[in-house]
Amino acid sequence: MKLYVAVLLAMIVLSAPGLCDPNNTDNTGVDRAISEIAPNEFDVTLTLDNITICGITETLPCDLTFVSTTHPEEKVKVSGQNISFAVINETQVTYRVRSSTPGSGVPEITGIWIDLLSDSEGAVGGGVMSHSEHQTTDTEAEQQNTPGFGTWVLVAMMFVAYLCVRR
């Protein structure tokens, strides 16, 4: 195989989204699924991906009331509209809530999770936000709009392709 063909192939492979991204932590986080089990009553299921020891706090809107959970009682703390869970070596937590607003649809619950065996934390259902990302969000947003490595790879690929055509 000619060198420039190998270089071109390598660039294509390396430029695949996420392949070389050291911050690619798509598989870590906590997702939320809500199902209506009776009128105005909902089961909320939190599913943990790749987290062994986790702290989760769910914040219910004002019209929701916590009813129960299948999680062990000693690992749950209810404080006003906040429900905290200590989750150790488990992958799922389910709790039930009731709405005081008839026909309000699927409730909008917010929550945060902390992976206690890594530096990861994030919003429930919202992916991963590492500690450093907390502090550099603005910078990163700016960087995303700035031509960077990907652009240079594209330019280099076009140049190699041009060399291929010439030969």
Binding site: I53, K75, V76, N82, A86, L116, L117
Partner: protein, 384 residues
């Protein structure tokens, strides 16, 4: 103040004031040195429930540390003396009394955690990063007052030395763990590296080093490991002084066997027997290896030592001398963590055609670069 955090503080105070101290395990609320699931659960809920402006509750860094301890501790090994050692918290302060331990610590990437070394390590150029580290006396007779002042988590020593009267008995009543590992015995090397990896929570790096050893040991064994005893090259290994050799139970004997050789003194009584010059001549070894105490930076010194050996009365007709198979092997690669390099040289000297494609200095360089973060300088480790 939160109840869990209060209990945590009270326990810390009680343990600190206790005359017979045991290791303080952060997050252990009942004093059993283990962070149970219930204890961790209480602390997680306390953290999540606390107001961010309330400084009396446990912080996230502490909570992560406690979670780590819950997940990975305690961890237990059996050291080279057969003593069961249990570590309850991550080892952050190490005193290394032996250069073999120091070398493996470096391979495992834990040099930053070394707070004390023996004088021999501090004076050894190979361990230049420990030049500023506090010295704690000799490897076989440490100054325990200095050692206690360093407040280490563990002290790493050989199985026999220093004696318990010079170490454990003087450290009694403290939470310092003395771990004895014979990292100078080739046959124990992979096991002891694995144990140190467990203690230092560096199992992956330990495995990489073990894989390195195993790869080359397998390569040598495949070529000469199955040779019948009568076909093996006979080796006379002289250990640092004239006519002091090695027998079964010594690291040198193990190296002879690993190299596919037959140690002419393997059956003698005692691990390091002294033999008569006539006995060596009568054995007529195929290969003579002299272990030298230090590497050389010029050829004149090893040349002189070698000259003295081959000119011994009656040695001129010895097969090893006639065949030019008398070699010096320096202590850097004799037994210890670099025993593999010594074994490879011995295999090549014994079976030059079988190992024509192997250059032991390349393996040495690979080891130094991959595991020690340095390259071979202009140093003579074998001669010729």
């Amino acid at each position: 103040m939160k109840p869990g955090f209060f209990a945590f503080l009270v326990l810390m105070l009680a343990v600190t004031l206790s005359p017979q101290a045991c290791a303080i395990v952060t997050g252990d609320l009942d004093g059993d040195q283990i962070v149970s699931e219930a204890e961790l659960t209480a602390l997680i809920l306390e953290y999540l429930d606390a107001s961010p402006v309330d400084s009396s509750h446990i912080g996230l860094a502490d909570l992560r540390s406690i979670s780590h301890i819950h997940a990975y501790y305690p961890r237990t090994i059996v050291d080279s003396n057969g003593d069961e050692i249990t570590i309850y918290t991550p080892v952050r302060r190490i005193v290394a009394l032996t250069s073999d331990c120091a070398e493996v610590i470096r391979s495992l990437g834990a040099t930053d955690e070394v707070v004390g070394v023996s004088t021999g390590i501090a004076e050894d150029e190979f361990f230049s990063e420990f030049g500023e580290v506090q010295t704690v006396g000799k490897w076989n007779n440490p100054d325990c007052e200095v050692l206690l002042a360093l407040d280490p988590d563990v002290v790493l020593a050989y199985g026999k030395w220093p004696g318990k009267d010079k170490l454990e008995e003087k450290l009694g009543g403290t939470d310092i763990e003395v771990i004895r590992l014979n990292l100078y015995i080739p046959e124990n090397m992979t096991d002891d590296v694995r144990k140190l990896g467990i203690v230092l929570e560096r199992e992956e790096k330990a495995q990489r080093l073990i894989d390195f050893y195993q790869h080359y040991m397998d390569l040598i064994a495949e070529r000469v490991g199955t040779l019948p005893i009568e076909d093996r090259r006979s080796i006379y290994l002289e250990c640092y002084s004239d006519f002091k050799t090695v027998s079964a139970g010594s690291g040198g004997d193990q190296m002879c066997v690993m190299a596919g050789g037959r140690n002419i003194a393997g059956d003698l009584i005692g691990a390091y027997p002294k033999v008569d010059p006539e006995w060596v001549i009568a054995q007529n070894p195929d290969v003579v290896v002299r272990a030298a105490s230090a590497s050389y930076d010029n050829t004149s010194e090893p040349e002189a030592i070698l000259g003295d050996i081959v000119s011994r009365p009656g040695w001129a007709g010895m097969d090893a001398v006639e065949g030019g198979r008398v070699h010096l092997l320096t202590s850097d690669i004799y037994t210890g963590p670099r025993y593999l390099i010594g074994v490879t040289y011995m295999a090549k000297w014994s079976y030059p055609e079988t190992f024509a494609d192997i250059d032991p200095s390349d393996i040495h360089r690979e080891y130094l670069v991959r595991f020690q973060g340095r390259d071979i300088q202009d140093t003579i480790f074998v001669y010729p």
